[in-house]
């Protein structure tokens, strides 16, 4: 006899069969077409019973499996292994007869048995409509990664990857590696010069022989998906060739002096020096500031003949498996906080300005003085939270500014041990061992005033800067004179183009999905690191760079065995909604314009399946025919209210396990609320179901990002349509449910059934 569907009902040592009449079910199911074996076993999870199932498969009696037993949340591995080894995952159907049936309807064995029969009927119908086995795919990408950003996070990532045998391309938009950290005078916790640490990172990188570094380079476009990115890179000209020895004569003769910040006078030349960077130790020309070949002084004086004014922009592309976005951040433009006078009052600086000032390569050669009038900075006031934690500017805390300020009080003390240093703060946030810096500053006589200053003004007579504040601890108004006022401004991310499709927060950072996937920006294969993720210090940036590199390594070697969505090309219209809605950017288009899911990018969330208007892309087991068969299977006519509930497998479905809920509700597990296609709901209503529930996680808890949001908007539109066809919109509801909220879910279902009973049968029932 040809193979067919095997239905195995588990007594669960009595737990199930003391409520549900399994023998009765067995005799009914035995008569169904397409079912070749139906048996009642004592405990399917135990080796003996499980082996008998395997034997049926191997003997060719059964090629599709219905397991009527405990919840799919239990014994997942044993049944999945069974499916993987002897069948295919899409040909296994688990019917939850214990937690969601026998145990869910105490005192109603008849109801539970009826429900069990309906669940099994749906499972069998679904399997009958299934195509053959769908074997999961595995792939590998190539062993190449692109790191965007040569700051400390990018260097840490690139170095780690390179030592792991990966070919790395580093693209950095400035002329040198090192990023923001290279511009610092010192960094904590050790108070050492960053050039040392950067040298270590850069050496690790270059020694591997597997890294190609491109400075003055930017990403022009990213195409493809995880495992196969095609990245176009634009290489800006340096105007100084590889012959450069770093002697510095060009800089000395350059007549142009340009502005670099509003707080400091112009001091940089049009010929830029590597300064704090370690690689490459070569100069570059800022062509916008430069006077051009007409001036030519640098070219004339260069002993190596390295100046080349005629260099053109170049383009090239790389093909990589993964990308690390370590694009960093900048200081908030604190001139926007007008009362503090940045850019207006000489002597008002940002914390970054102070780094330059303290540096020997800076405008004053490292002497702490007010550059405009060379007044020594014996009195320095620091204003914390300048434009941060402020609804008019940056609403968030940038985490590092307190430690930065404490570090900078050292600069002042080192220059002038008796200096008057005042720190205006709202809260001092220095955690862990950095508390030491706070203690030391206080011991050295730094005055901490708790109060966010009203303004920085200039005394008309003396020309002194004055900080006007209220000391919230004493309650008194305070006026502090200063030579320099340093504004501890917060961090804002460097702009990442929308075309990357990374999930950004309100400020533009890519914070990842905490706590489960910290570096993942929702675009498969692209990992954020460093301050591109959020404010963090150099130590944090290095750690996040290493974390990102670890995520990349996972993609390069054996990719996971994934279940990819299947596409029916005879139905596909090329509308590309799946490409747009995929939270991972895992779908690209093939040569003929059909969607092509990427094995390395896809997470099997099913959101493509939920949105497809033609229902031609779907996860195995959820094709139009299989779902239609499921929905048409149980008897849904008559007076009994019948509800179909699509529950997200992560939270809502598991939450329902072990609750008591109405027997009129038939649950179906789906991968995400966003994976529910409105066409299924149409089919359910047209087949006479009285109501439909879609239950998933809360919007900010969804593992796949925007599943619940999509479910909400799709159902809202469907409800609009229902109203226009004179059907109660309440017949379709979206519920949210966390994994521990089974009780509320069950209560909501109870309520729903009651409402439907009041409303009366679905108007489609009579048709």
């Amino acid at each position: 006899m040809p193979a067919g569907i095997g239905v195995y009902l588990c007594r669960c040592d009595g737990r199930i069969n003391e409520v549900i009449d399994l023998e009765g079910l067995r005799s009914k199911i035995g008569k169904w077409k397409g079912v070749s074996e139906v048996r009642v076993l004592t405990a399917l999870c135990r080796p003996g019973d499980l082996a008998s199932v395997v034997e049926d498969i191997q003997a060719g009696r059964v090629d599709r499996l219905v397991i009527g037993a405990c919840s799919p949340a239990v014994h997942q591995e044993s049944f999945e292994r069974l499916a993987a080894e002897d069948l295919a995952p899409n040909l296994l159907e688990r019917c939850n007869l214990r937690e969601q049936c026998a145990l869910a309807h105490p005192g109603d064995p008849a109801g539970a048995t009826t429900q069990a029969l309906a669940l099994l009927k749906m499972g069998v119908a679904r399997l009958k409509a299934a195509p053959g086995p769908v074997i999961p795919e595995t792939t590998t990408g190539n062993r190449r990664v692109l790191v965007v950003g040569g700051g400390i996070a990018g260097l840490a990532a690139a170095g780690n990857l390179a030592r792991g045998g990966v070919e790395v391309t580093v693209v950095e938009k400035r002329a040198w590696l090192g990023g923001r950290v290279a511009q610092l005078h010192r960094y904590y916790p050790r108070g050492c010069a960053p050039r040392c640490g950067l040298a270590v990172q850069t050496e690790r990188l270059l020694q591997s022989g597997r890294v190609s570094v491109h400075t003055l380079a930017e990403v022009a476009g990213v195409h493809g998906t995880a495992g196969n990115f095609q990245v176009n890179i634009r290489q800006h000209p340096r105007f100084i060739g590889q012959e450069c020895t770093g002697c510095g004569r060009c800089e000395a003769v350059c007549p142009v002096v340009t502005d670099t910040s509003r707080g400091l006078p112009a001091w940089r030349k049009a010929v830029l020096s590597p300064a704090g960077s370690v690689y490459p130790l070569a100069y570059a020309i800022d062509r916008q500031a430069c006077l051009g070949p007409a001036c030519g002084k640098c070219a004339a004086v260069c002993p190596a003949g390295a100046v080349c004014m005629e260099e053109d922009e170049q383009s090239f592309s790389v093909n990589v498996s993964a990308i690390v976005m370590a694009t960093g951040s900048a200081l908030y433009d604190v001139a926007a906080v007008e009362n503090y006078g940045y850019g207006r009052l000489p002597g008002v600086l940002t914390s970054m300005d102070l780094e330059f000032l303290a540096s020997p390569d800076g405008p004053t050669g490292g002497r702490l003085m007010r550059p405009a009038d060379e007044r020594p900075a014996r009195r320095v006031a620091f204003i914390q939270c300048a434009g941060s934690r402020d609804c008019k500017h940056l609403p968030y805390c940038s985490a590092i500014c307190c430690a930065v300020t404490l570090k900078q009080t050292r600069y002042v003390r080192d220059a002038y041990p008796d200096a008057e240093v005042t720190v205006f703060y709202m809260d001092m946030r220095v955690t862990g061992h950095l508390e030491e810096m706070y203690r030391q500053a206080m011991d050295e006589g730094t005055v901490f005033i708790r109060g966010n200053p009203l303004a920085v003004v200039r005394a008309a007579d003396t020309g002194d800067l004055e900080v006007v504040a209220a000391d919230s601890l004493s309650g008194r108004r305070v006026l502090v004179g200063a030579d320099l006022v340093v504004l501890a401004a917060g961090l804002v991310p460097e702009h990442i183009a929308d075309s990357y499709h990374l999930a950004k927060d309100g400020a533009g950072f890519v914070p990842g999905h905490l706590p489960c996937s910290p570096t993942e920006g929702r675009r498969a294969g692209i990992f954020a690191a460093g301050t591109a993720q959020g404010p963090m210090d150099a130590s944090g940036a290095v750690q996040s760079g290493l974390a990102a590199s670890a995520e990349c390594l996972a993609l390069l070697d054996q990719g996971p065995a994934l279940v990819l969505p299947l596409l029916d090309k005879t139905k596909c219209d090329g509308c590309k909604r799946c490409v747009e809605e995929c939270p991972y950017g895992a779908i690209t288009l093939d040569r003929d314009g059909y969607p092509l899911p990427s094995a390395t990018g896809c997470r099997s969330c099913g959101i493509c399946q939920g949105g497809c208007p033609l229902r031609c892309i779907h996860l195995p087991g959820f094709s139009t025919r299989e779902m239609a068969a499921r929905l048409a299977a149980p008897a849904v006519g008559g007076e009994e209210v019948r509800v179909i509930a699509f529950l997200c497998g992560n939270d809502a479905y598991r939450a329902l396990d072990g609750t008591v809920y109405p027997v009129n509700v038939l649950p179906v597990a789906v991968s995400c609320a966003g994976a529910v296609n409105m066409g299924w709901i149409n089919d359910a209503l047209l087949n006479g179901w009285d109501g439909v529930i879609v239950a998933g996680c809360r919007a900010d808890e969804c593992h796949y990002g925007h599943g619940p949001d999509l479910a909400d908007s799709r159902v809202a539109k469907l409800q609009e349509t229902l109203r226009s066809v004179m059907v109660e919109a309440e017949r379709v509801q979206v519920l949210t449910c966390g994994i521990g909220e089974g009780g509320s879910l069950a209560a909501a279902l109870e309520n729903f059934v009651r409402r439907l009973t009041e409303m009366g049968p679905s108007p489609f029932k009579e048709c």
């Binding site: 490409v579 087949n687 349509t721 048709c767």
Partner: protein, 108 residues
Amino acid sequence: MPPRVNTEKCDGCRAQDETLCVLICPGDLMALDTGSGKAYCRSERDCWDCMSCVKSCPHGAIETRLPYQLGYYPAKLIPLVGSNKISWTVVDIHGKVERFTFKTRNDD
């Protein structure tokens, strides 16, 4: 004739180059307004009311109306499209509701 697009429900099919209604209209009459990102009918007088656009819209954002030459206001005809069934709801100008559900495709 005129297909009416409900701009609250229409999402321009995610503003890809061709919305589904634009893709399907036998008269090439639907178009995407790139400014608003919504679909619209470029020439209502040329519509044949075949209702292909209405059936194709995943959000049910399009409704067919008859020209006033032919019928009074405000009757409605709205489909609910299933995978192998369809249900049409008709509401006449007196508010009377009728429903017609039938199979559109055999699956086996």
